[in-house]
Symmetry: C2
Subunit: 309 residues, 2 copies
C-alpha cells in the first residue's frame, strides 16, 4: 500500500459559464466536482496505475462529506481522512466557454485545532506500518505548525518507510532539513527555496539541504533529477500543448510507484515524465490520457547529465 | 406556525477577494455561507419577528447538509426539508474588497425525480395542517412541473390556509390562475406577466388573473397594493441607499406576519415596507437592521390611491 497525505484537502469545483463579466450575474451551465488537493490527485493516478493507495489528511463539514463521497467511487483508494470540526475548503475553477480560459477562486481552508493535529499524527503513525512508501503533498492549513512535514518525515524514517515531499515555501525549507528520500519542487518552489533561478544550481543547493534525491519539475523542460545514483534529465520528445494542472501530481505518482516497484532511476523518471505529459495532453484537467501515456513511455528521452558534479 | 416553501433551496456562499481579474487565480480572504433561497430568507425574517416558522422544500448532498446545519442554529425555524439524491445548488457572491462590487455565480440546481416530487407533496399536505399561513417562494428546480405552484395553492386553499405566492415567469402565470390570497411580484415579474411596464395597470391586470390581492414591490417606489379592502401605496419617506438583496423577501415576511396577526392592510404594508427598507440599509446583504426597522415603522407613509378603479 502507498500512503498519500493531504493536510489541506479540497473539494475541487469546476463551473462552466458563457463568459465571465466582473460584477455581472452568471448562470452556471455545468457543474463538476471531485476530491482535490495534491495528495488526492497523486492517489488517483497511483490507483489508475494499479496500486492500492490509502489517503489521509483532514475532512470536515458538508464539503468534507462530498470529498469522502467522491472517494468511495474511486476504485483502489482507501479513505483514511481524519475528521475535523471545520469545513474542508473549496476551490472553484470558472471556465469561460467562449475563450476556454479559467478563473480560479481558492478558499484558505479550515483551522486545524491542536487536538485534531494530534489525532492526525497518531493515525499517521498507524497508517505508516503497512505502507511501502508515503507522499506528503501540498500546503498546510491554518493551525498546523509550519514544521509539520519535518516531523512527519522523521516519523516515516523511524518506521523505515521511504518518504517523498512535494510542497513549497517554509514547509519545504523545514521539511527538507529532515532528510526526505525525495523532494519534487517545481521551478518556482526551487527558486524560492534557494534564491537561484538557475535550475541546476538550485537543484544542487536543494539536495545539499538534506534531500537524498531532488527531482525538479521544470514545465516544458521536463524533469531534472539529482540522486545518489546519478543525475538525469527526462523530457518528452516535443513540447506538449495543453493544461498543466495536475502534471506535477502525476509526476509524483510516477516517482512513487517506480520507487515501490524498485525500478531504476531512469525508468522512474521515464514514467514520471510520461505521466506528466499525458496529464497536460488530457482533455479533462488533472486526469492523464492513458493512450498518450503508453505512447510517451516509449518516447520520453532520459539523458545522463555529464556536467554533474 | 407559518410555513415557507423553497423548492430551489441554495447554499449561499459569499467570498471576499481583493479584486476579480478574469482568468487570474484568487485567494479568497473571507468565506461566509448560509442557507439560501427565497423561502429560507423569508423564514429568517419571520423568526426574527418572533414567529414560529417551518421551512420545507428540498435538500440533498453535502450542500444540503450545510443548509440543514445552518438551520439548526436559527432559533424559531423548524427544518422540514425533504431529502433528495441530487445536491442542493450553490450560489456564489464574489465581493471585490476594492470596489465593493459583487460578481454572482448561480448553479442551476439538482433535478428532482417524480418520486421526490410526490414525497414533497405528501409532506406539504401534512405540514399545512398546523399552519396559519404558507408562502410559496422562488424558482422551480429542474424536474418539478411548471404548474407546481398552482397545485400547491389549490391544496392550501382546500386546507383553508392562506397562501402567498412569490415567483416569476411561467410558474407565476400558472400559479396566479389558482387564486392565491396574495402575490408579490416585483416590477420585472409584473411586466413579464402582463406585458405592461406601467405598474398600476400591470398590478390591476395581475389581480384580474386570479389573485385576491397583489402587492407589487417597486424598488425605491415602495409597495403598491391592490386588495379586496382597498388600494394603497407604502414607501419610506426618503430613498434608502444600500443593497437591495433580500428586500423582496423581507417584504413577504412583513405581509405574511401581518396576515397571521390579523393586522389591517395598511399596517401590513407599513411593516412590509419598513422591513424591506431596513434590509436595504443593513450592513450584511439580506439581513434587516432592527434599529432601522423600528425607526422606519414610524416613518413609512401609507396612502390610499384615489385613482383606484
Amino acid at each position: 500500500m502507498i500512503l498519500t497525505v493531504t493536510l489541506n484537502t479540497a473539494l475541487d469545483i469546476t463551473y462552466h459559464i458563457r463568459s465571465l463579466r466582473p460584477h455581472g450575474t452568471h448562470r452556471v451551465t455545468d457543474v463538476a466536482e471531485r476530491p482535490g488537493g495534491k495528495g488526492l490527485n497523486v492517489a488517483r493516478v497511483l490507483a489508475a496505475l494499479g496500486h492500492e493507495v490509502t489517503v489521509t489528511g483532514f475532512a470536515g463539514g458538508g464539503t468534507g462529506l462530498s470529498v469522502q463521497d467522491g472517494l468511495t467511487t474511486a476504485p483502489g483508494i482507501t479513505d483514511a481522512l481524519v475528521p475535523i470540526t471545520g469545513a474542508t475548503r473549496r476551490t472553484i475553477a470558472v471556465v469561460d466557454q467562449q475563450s476556454g480560459d479559467t478563473t480560479q477562486l481558492n478558499e484558505p481552508g479550515p483551522t486545524i485545532t491542536p487536538a485534531e493535529w494530534s489525532a492526525f499524527q497518531e493515525a499517521y503513525e498507524d497508517l505508516l506500518r503497512p505502507a511501502a512508501a508515503v507522499a506528503l503533498c501540498g500546503s498546510l492549513p491554518p493551525g498546523v505548525p509550519v514544521g509539520a512535514y519535518a516531523g512527519l518525515i522523521r516519523t516515516a524514517r523511524a518506521a523505515n518507510v521511504p518518504v517523498l515531499l512535494d510542497t513549497g515555501g517554509e514547509p519545504l525549507r523545514r521539511g527538507i532539513a529532515a532528510r526526505p528520500d525525495v523532494v519534487k519542487p517545481n521551478a518556482d518552489e526551487l527558486a524560492e527555496l534557494t534564491g537561484s533561478h538557475e535550475p541546476l544550481r538550485a537543484t544542487q543547493d536543494a539536495r545539499r539541504r538534506g534531500a537524498r534525491a531532488v527531482v525538479a519539475s521544470l514545465g516544458a523542460d521536463g524533469l531534472l533529477a539529482l540522486t545518489p545514483e546519478g543525475r538525469w534529465r527526462a523530457a518528452p520528445p516535443e513540447p506538449i500543448p495543453g493544461n498543466p494542472t495536475g502534471a506535477g501530481d502525476a509526476a509524483v505518482a510516477g516517482l512513487l510507484s517506480g520507487m515501490v516497484e524498485q525500478l531504476t532511476w531512469p525508468d522512474r523518471l521515464t514514467r514520471a515524465a510520461a505521466l506528466s505529459a499525458a496529464t497536460v495532453r488530457a482533455r479533462t484537467a488533472g486526469e492523464f490520457d492513458p493512450g498518450a501515456y503508453q505512447d510517451l513511455l516509449r518516447r520520453v528521452a532520459v539523458t545522463t547529465d555529464a556536467t554533474a558534479a
